[in-house]
Amino acid sequence: MADGSLTPARSVMKTPQAWINWLSKYGIFLLLVVLVVALSIITPLVRGEQYFLTPRNLTQVMLQGSINGIIALGMTFIITSGGIDLSVGSIVALAGVIAASVMALGSGPWIGLLAAVATGMLCGLFNGFLITRIKLQPFIATLGTMGIFRGLTLILSDGRPIYGFDSAFVDIFSQRVFGEIPLPVIVVALLAVICWLVLAKTRFGKYVIAIGSSEESVMRAGISIRRYKLGIYTFGGVLTGISAALLTARLSSADPTSGTMFELDAIAATVMGGTSLSGGEGTIAGTIVGALIISIIRNALNILNIPSFWQQFVIGAVIIVAVALDQVRRRYAQRVG
């Protein structure tokens, strides 16, 4: 039936529905497997040697995906609640610059981490404030703060990267644990488990889904939407702050222009994973696999010597395909359900 032959109308009605449901649930995992297998075969053919499927390269893929992965975890909560955060890239730069500045002034690594997380938290809180109190659309509010946070970063740093802080900060986050696994990979795994528990098991997670599904209904149930939205954007900010700390440690510096276009990767990982841009549906596992796939795509384009200009092109296309598929699925669900 699935091999393209003509089928009776009745099974045509049923088959695409079943297929689309299956694909929307497990398609992302299938894509991951297909990508890994395909690249393991293509890379030796193109480069004459297996550069892709090596422990060293795969570790690198995970390490590079961890920065985006953590931001995407927060983005998953925000998009599930029916919102969006375009300012994450600027938050990464601001939190990184503030953490590096604090440490350059003589603070220890843990104060640096705290500064990054606190900056992210305040940025998220500010986004939440604009959205809940000034009642701006999340798109407009975070488009504005994308500029504000970036501008603030450039003002504070005078446009120059910040070096010369305690190398202990770099050492802590470049540790390898359990043999060869970089610490950031462990951090993202741990945060993913926490986020999954929060989304699936707690009242906060339930309200995130409920607000994304129908704000009006949540309001009528006597729940303070304002309070929970503030919490959602703050939570996203905290995760972005953690991500900023990891990036600063990995680069041994904080560049005020870093984090540019990070929102693209985070949104791509989230919607590719199966979280619906229309809100009400979110999956943490999907987001993590989505972040991994984006990291693999970037890695593969490098290995295959494809100019890096193509990277953003591909990630942008991924967003469009993922959202288009989600809409097809919804249309089918409506027609059949």
């Binding site: 599904s213 209904s217 009528r220 006597g222």
Partner: protein
């Protein structure tokens, strides 16, 4: 103006031993220059079904929303069980025990029955983890939902099924189930059968009647279907152009007469009403 008791004389004989649940006294609502409601007064007694009827724009929805705490009246008072109530938000009305089933049902599609029934009233795990992080005790909520709904004769599929996968009648049952689980005083139903087929409508009407007869629950129902109104309501309150046009006793009226009051073909004076 008349005393609030006058308008209920027609039903007094049957209801004088019942507690007054809701007293609406001289309620007025204006949206800017638009007078949506003008000095509405009536009582609702325990264990009765009051139908609120009227043409589009007659003020039914505005009145329901005032009782549900969505709107605040411009003037006039609301008493629940004799206590003066000043609802500022829907949460206030819920707390007093007034539940509303809105026309759109206000369900959360991706969540299951128990999650919907307990929306805003979640039971948390007793452990410190549960209290600090707000961990849901879903086992407890699902069990209680299953028990409560079956006791109330409300038939729904498994309490673990997302409501998005349910039929219109089942979704209506979940919404009513949620309302009667928490509505200690009064349940407001806004067009409960408008979106349903014949059989599902019958199910919903039977459920409402059973809840009144067996549990003494009190309802205010908005409906455009005069046959249904005449069947389930004990009393019918007709609104016309924001004014209280008539209060009719089920046993002393017909669907045709209700329509006559709605369209204004017939008008009730307070005197003739007193006699009825």
């Amino acid at each position: 103006m008349r005393s609030p008791l006058c308008e209920d004389i027609g039903s007094m004989v049957r209801q004088d031993d019942r507690a007054v649940i809701l007293e609406i006294d001289n309620v007025t609502k204006a949206f800017g220059a638009v007078q949506a409601l003008q000095s509405i007064s009536f009582n609702v007694y325990k264990g009765e079904i009051v139908a609120l009827v009227g043409d589009n724009g007659a003020g039914k929805s505005t009145l329901i929303k005032i009782i549900a705490g969505v709107h605040t009246p411009t003037s006039g008072t609301l008493r629940v069980r004799g206590a003066l109530c000043d609802f500022k938000t829907p949460a206030d009305a819920l707390q007093v025990g007034i539940e509303t089933v809105y026309q759109d049902l206000a369900l959360i599609d991706p969540l299951d029955v128990a999650d919907n029934v307990y929306l805003g009233r979640e039971v948390l795990k007793k452990s410190w983890l549960g209290r600090v992080f707000g961990v849901l005790d879903r086992t407890q909520m699902r069990r209680a939902t299953g028990e409560a709904l079956s006791q109330l004769h409300i038939k729904i599929p498994a309490p673990t099924m997302p409501v998005s996968r349910m039929s219109g009648g089942q979704r209506q049952a979940v919404a009513i189930g949620r309302a009667v689980t928490w509505g200690r005083q009064l349940i407001l139903l806004d067009e409960p059968t408008a979106a349903l087929g014949v059989e599902e409508t019958e199910q919903v009407l039977l459920t409402i009647e059973k809840l009144r007869d067996e549990y003494g629950m009190t309802f205010i129902v908005i409906s455009h279907n005069m046959q249904n109104v005449h069947r389930i309501a004990d009393r019918i309150i007709v609104l016309r152009q924001g004014k209280h046009a008539a209060t009719l006793d089920k046993y002393a009226t017909t669907p045709e007469e209700i329509v006559a009051y709605i369209t204004g073909a017939k008008a009730q004076t307070y005197e003739s009403h007193k006699d009825g």
